[in-house]
């Protein structure tokens, strides 16, 4: 097979042609600055308003509660840093989980250096946050709970509604990094008591460099980027108009196609997992088997190392990712895999495959066939496998 097989949709996705088409006029004819007074710019402003409404609809929010940002990372930074600052008089304690994205974890580390106290809640062996521990961690000084909607590595979906209920009961703000979940699974900010939510367009077949922070009406949050009065004075800087239009279109399509896409992706995901588990020995699935994103497969192959596996898959034109340390250049494997209790050597042998709506069963079968060959080849040269087989004899 010469064609590329893209199985890394949690990293980013291909921008849909309809999205590109919707964006194009905003580069050429509709280039006016939305802040300007003339009708030419008002047209652009209307485009932004429509896009905002489409994004809001995905999570059951009001248009006025959506603030566009430069992506999910900016939204996460904004939520955490601004809450820490604005609510400093109320307290200085934030609760989060051990398996957050680095956009949250590294922001928390930064805040800790500036006098904020952070509690990192454990997850169980499937990656689900320990709710009892979370509730016990609440202090009178707790100002924010931030727990991701779904994990980017292992696909585990958190009990967001329950966390929202706990936050509400204790009158604490609740933020969720929903970058992996937005447009993929149903989200209702009111039903789930979500006060703030981060999303990113390029994870749902939209463009890169655009995301948003949903901020519930009534929540005071200072501006993160200072300058002009854009985004109702909460996010300065001339709008990324084509990006916003593209995000709106991608959000609209994602919502319309959610059920059908999920059905297809779950079928491919389950085929991938089943064949890997059935046909390759000494392998485990990481993440919750039921509470899982429709597109996520994460497995660990014993006795082999993930980067080797990725390079060999790449030579077969298959794009995937791994939680191995070698892929990041650090010595430690993924913090998520360690948090769910995997020993280092098993975490090093992890492989993440995230399917998209364009993948086919044929591609999945081809991929599993290659994985089988590669795992066998790598095990033949693994001293760990040699030791294991000798012990068995």
């Amino acid at each position: 097979m010469e064609k590329k097989i893209y199985l890394d949709n949690a990293a980013t996705t291909k921008t849909r042609p309809e999205v590109v088409e919707a964006m194009l006029p905003y580069f050429t004819e509709l280039y006016g600055n939305p802040s300007s007074i003339y009708e030419f710019s008002a047209q652009v402003k209307r485009g932004i308003d429509e896009a905002r409404a489409k994004v809001a609809k995905v999570i059951g929010a009001e248009s006025s509660e959506i603030f566009f940002t430069g992506g999910g990372t900016e939204a996460d930074n904004w939520a955490l840093k601004a809450v820490a600052e604005v609510y400093a008089s109320k307290g200085n304690h934030i609760i989060t989980s051990k398996i957050e994205h680095h956009a949250i974890l590294h922001t928390c580390e930064y805040l800790e250096k500036n006098g904020v106290e952070v509690t990192y809640i454990d997850v169980d062996e499937n990656g689900i946050i320990k709710l009892d521990q979370l509730e016990r961690a609440i202090r009178p000084t707790t100002i924010l709970i931030s727990v991701m909607f779904a994990n980017n590595e292992i696909g585990t979906i958190q009990p967001i509604k329950e966390i929202g209920a706990i936050a509400k009961k204790h009158d604490i703000l609740f933020h969720t990094d929903a970058v992996q979940a937005f447009g993929q699974v149903p989200i209702d900010v009111n039903e789930m008591n979500i006060d703030m939510l981060s999303a990113s367009a390029h994870k749902l077949n939209g463009p890169k460099g655009i995301g948003c922070l949903y901020i519930r009406k009534g929540i005071k949050l200072r501006s993160f980027i200072h300058g002009g009065g854009q985004e109702r004075k909460r996010r300065a800087g001339t709008e990324n108009v084509p990006g916003i239009i593209g995000f709106g279109k991608a959000a609209e399509i994602a919502l319309e196609t959610m059920e059908e896409r999920a059905r297809k992706e779950i079928r491919l995901r389950d085929l991938l997992m089943k064949r890997i588990l059935d046909e390759i020995p000494f392998v485990r699935v990481n993440g919750d088997k039921v509470r899982r994103l429709p597109n996520n497969v994460n497995v660990s192959f014993q006795f082999i190392e993930g980067e080797s596996l990725l390079i060999m898959l790449d030579m077969n034109n298959i794009c995937a990712s791994s939680g191995s340390a070698c892929t990041s250049g650090s010595l430690d494997p993924s913090h998520v895999l360690l948090a769910i209790g995997l020993p280092h050597e098993i975490a090093h042998g992890s492989l993440r495959l995230t399917v998209g709506h364009e993948n086919t069963e044929e591609e999945i079968n081809f991929t599993v066939d290659r994985i089988k060959e590669i795992v066998e080849k790598l095990r033949r040269m693994s001293p760990l496998y040699e030791d294991f087989m000798k012990k068995k004899q």
């Binding site: 082999i304 980067e307 080797s308 010595l331 090093h348």
Partner: protein, 145 residues
């Protein structure tokens, strides 16, 4: 990110396998850090490395450096093999990305560990060979990005 030579040695590694009743076997690295290298040496009575095999758990660079290291010591005397440094292995591979330099240290260490094992079995002392560290990473500072 890897040179053509690294890719060549990774995809077609030379001398993979084991040697039964090897003159010396050395295992270095640890699974925690994601790489383990094991080297088998068959050394004749004249102290010449007649055959060499390896097994490696690790990334592309770890496999390629193991493969290259076996090529560099094959047919050499013990003293010549001792001169195969991590730098020599890296140069022979047309370089490694900076985050992968530690893999080449592992290759040098594996040669030394196998020679040390040979010397112990033989009850001899090899000039210029110190007892290898049991864990290549134990002195290394962990780096965060």
């Amino acid at each position: 990110m890897y040179s053509q030579k690294v890719m060549d040695h990774f995809t077609n590694p030379r001398n993979v396998g084991e040697i039964e009743n090897a003159s010396g076997v050395g295992t270095v690295g640890n699974a925690k850090c994601g790489d383990i290298m094991r080297m088998y040496l068959d050394i004749d009575d004249n102290g010449v490395i007649r055959d060499v095999k390896f097994k490696t758990f690790g990334c592309g660079a770890a496999v390629a450096t193991s493969s290259m290291a076996t090529e560099l010591v094959k047919g050499k005397t013990i003293q010549e093999a001792l001169k195969v440094t991590n730098k020599a292995v890296m140069e022979a591979l047309d370089g490694l990305p900076s985050v992968k330099v530690h893999c080449s240290l592992l290759a040098e260490e594996a040669i030394h560990a196998a020679l040390w094992d040979y010397a112990e079995k033989k009850g001899i002392k090899i000039e210029g060979l110190d007892k290898p560290k049991s864990d290549i990473h134990e002195d290394e500072e962990q780096e965060e990005d």
